[in-house]
Symmetry: C2
Subunit: 221 residues, 2 copies
């Protein structure tokens, strides 16, 4: 089978190859005709977790996006971060379609329901997600004790994510958008969905869905 190449930018500086490629592998396991090439930004070992770290990441994400278009011949580029850093700027500069994981999961959630709960890691839901959800954003939360994407890898994070998800449902959410791709790294969406009983959407897989569609649409089926 001829596989379509998709570029993926991680906003967490990762040296471990398995961890680096985990988002790409997750997408490939669901969309078997895609081949994901991953790169990460330098010098952000805690990823994006506040205004400063987001600002620092944007230029680096744009650089990687431009390199993908120059070098690799990818059919779409995913920015694997729920804050969509650099996505708007890259859309203006590139011919290749760009997909932010934040706008992807927000958009996908609106197909399920007009009552969306957002589970993030920051004090605020990322602006892009807020803008897309508008009045359909009915509740926001974060797991207790989590401040950066690395905290999601700690043992207690699963339990506190489950508690926060249940609270979002109690507050009226009919679908949950996970607003940090660290949730994808620990592969928690399916588990939360089974426990809580409403759809829980993984931002990396949402981005994968749209990358698959855009790559397919643009170059013919």
């Amino acid at each position: 089978m001829h596989k379509r190449k998709i570029g993926l930018v991680r906003v967490l500086t990762v040296k471990d190859k398995e961890l680096l490629e985990s988002h790409g592998k997750s997408i490939e396991s669901h969309f078997s005709d895609l081949s994901i090439i991953t790169r990460c930004i330098p010098d952000q070992s805690k990823g994006i977790y506040d205004k400063e770290s987001e600002k620092a990441a944007i230029r680096k994400v744009i650089d990687l996006g431009l390199k993908f278009e120059e070098e690799v011949g990818v059919r779409a580029i995913i920015v694997s971060c729920a804050a969509d850093p650099g996505v708007v700027a890259l859309k203006e500069q590139l011919n290749t379609p760009i997909i932010g994981a934040g706008s992807a999961v927000a958009s996908l959630s609106l197909v399920y329901s007009n009552k969306v709960g957002v589970l993030g890691i920051g004090d605020r839901t990322p602006q892009t997600i807020k803008e897309i959800l508008g009045s359909c954003l009915v509740a926001e939360s974060k797991p207790y004790g989590v401040k950066t994407t690395l905290d999601l890898m700690k043992k207690e994070a699963k339990k506190s994510s489950l508690i926060a998800t249940k609270q979002l449902k109690q507050r009226g959410a009919k679908v949950i958008a996970l607003a940090c791709t660290g949730f994808s790294s620990i592969g928690i969406a399916q588990e939360l969905e089974s426990e809580v009983g409403i759809p829980v959407l993984d931002p990396v897989l949402a981005a994968g869905l749209f990358a698959w569609y855009l790559a397919k649409k643009r170059f013919g089926v």
Copy 2:
């Protein structure tokens, strides 16, 4: 190949088999592992084109949705109308995932850009689409002389659709969401996209994408 069955509800009463099944055929041509079963509501030979005709259609759409779940064993149901009639009520009553063509095309457009232009046929953009797009809805229009979905089948409709789409682009739209599935019946999205130079999204294919994803996700890959 084992094909997944998807139910599709037309809100235009159609006797001609080819016309009736045109939305389903369009989806099948893009998603070859889906098999679409189409039914149409009775006694609405002009479809939905104002408040009254929408109100009349809602109960009929719900009836067809309930019959699909009872009889056919479909994995998702598409309501092939940009106004999403009956979609919220069906979501509450059924276990099978329901996709409205209006919410689907609106959601998909947000992955492309936060500046969406809507081309409809009514005096107003359908409420569901407005709600999903929120502040991302930058311009609305309709083709001159078109009042019902049947008018889109007339010769002059293509030209007036093109003019209206160009105006939406001039008013700042970076992507166009077609807000009537009559545009799908005449298969105009690709032509508009080529002429105007920005993505033009077909509501039936947008619904097809999400039906494909939901059917796949729910029952394993």
